[in-house]
Amino acid sequence: STGGKRRQQNRNRSTPTQEVSRGPSQADYNGSDQKAACRKHELYVSFRELGWQDWIIAPEGYAANYCDGECSFPLNAHMNATNHAIVQTLVHLMNPENVPKPCCAPTKLHAISVLYFDDNSNVILKKYKNMVVRACGCH
């Protein structure tokens, strides 16, 4: 709860609340800003390129992916924004110098399996949890 008094103070301090009132519209995000919005980017880690085919049997590599982009107001322009991200944005707008914006981070992670030889030529099939970014969002 911020209370009426505090809201009044913020209004007098101008910048953050002004930003709220003239925050970018949905149309802005559909334009050039969309490029900078939080989203998933593809990044393929190639075991073949690393020259590891003598010990990694499968896969040849995996789509690791990563998240990058801005998490700016209004958050409904960003897919997969968590509820907490909305709170984080509001608090950031009230206190931009001390409270950071929400982060663009993975919201869905998946596993991969890797099949490889060990030093004794035994074969290992191992499931690695949370290795692949399936979706990014503001958090």
């Binding site: 998933k40 980017h41 593809e42 880690v45 073949r48 690393l50 590891w52 085919q53 003598d54 010990w55 990694i56 049997i57 499968a58 896969p59 040849e60 590599g61 995996y62 789509a63 990058d68 998946h110 596993a111 991969i112 399996s113 890797v114 099949l115 490889y116 030889f117 060990d118 030093d119 004794n120 030529s121 035994n122 074969v123 290992i124 099939l125 191992k126 499931k127 690695y128 290795m131 692949v132 399936r134």
Partner: protein, 262 residues
């Protein structure tokens, strides 16, 4: 590159220097939980039955909605996969697989037959190195797998009695103590993989490596005469690589792993 094939603005394009490349490899090895890059001795190992079996399991996982690509196996396995049939992995393995965090196959380390007593002259020995299992992994199931070929010179109704033993104790002056794990009657004409449950034995070997003295098998005819496993169609070291005996174990992580700070 981002998804659309465009170079991301935030990145500078350049080739990695040798030491950077090495650091990058080290980081990815760390993600895979490996202290160093494995250096397997692969003169024949890559065409062996164990990697082919494991590849079958991998493809079972991959086709079940995993993100890794089912066709991602290194090309060196492709020719073997097309010539091999039927698939090695059975429904039982698929059930074990669903519950497992890690599966590991072990090659037989016995390269030469030892001189055993007259009574055990036809016994065959098998040893497996279970010393490199990561901490915190518990065995949920383990199988010893042997391939049996059809014995064409035998009569259709001929049978053999195959016995699988765990070597319990070795003595310098007399025969080793054996513990019978399983005995199974085999038809002379049957062909395919034989699976023996060695879960309890494997658990003992993992917990107490000193007790890992291997397995032995023996074969008798229906009249009780001891014969060589080869005469019963069981494939040994001189047989086809893709039919070599091996062991497979399924593991479940029994404790939480935290990567140490680097």
């Amino acid at each position: 590159l981002d998804g659309s094939g465009q170079v991301h603005q935030g990145f500078i394009q350049r080739r990695l220097r040798t030491h950077e490349r090495r650091e990058m490899q080290k980081e990815i090895l760390s993600i895979l939980g490996l202290p160093h890059r494995p250096r397997p001795h692969l003169s024949h190992a890559k065409y062996n039955s164990a990697p082919l079996f494991m590849l079958d399991l991998y493809n079972t996982i991959s086709s079940g909605g995993d993100t890794s690509r089912a066709d991602g196996a290194s090309q060196l396995y492709e020719p073997m996969r097309t010539t091999r049939s039927p698939p090695l992995a059975t429904f039982q393995e698929a059930a074990f697989l669903n519950d497992a965090d890690m599966v590991m196959s072990f090659v037989n380390l016995v390269e030469h037959d030892r001189e055993l007593s007259l009574q055990r002259r036809h016994h065959k020995e098998y040893k497996f190195n279970l010393s490199q299992i990561p901490e915190g992994e518990a065995v949920t199931a383990a199988e010893f797998r042997l391939y049996k070929e059809c014995v064409s010179r035998a009569f259709c109704n001929d049978t053999f009695l195959l016995k699988v033993y765990q070597v319990v104790k070795e003595h310098p002056d007399r025969e080793a103590d054996l513990f019978l794990l399983e005995s199974r009657r085999l038809w002379a004409l049957e062909e395919g993989w034989l699976e023996f449950d060695i879960t309890a034995t494997s658990n003992l070997w993992v917990m107490s490596p000193l007790h890992n003295l291997g397995l032995q098998i023996s074969v008798e005819t229906s009249s009780g005469k001891s014969i060589s496993p080869k005469d019963a169609g069981l494939v040994g070291r001189d047989g086809a690589l893709e039919k070599q005996p091996f062991m497979v174990a399924f593991f479940k992580v029994s404790e939480l792993h935290f990567r140490s700070a680097r």
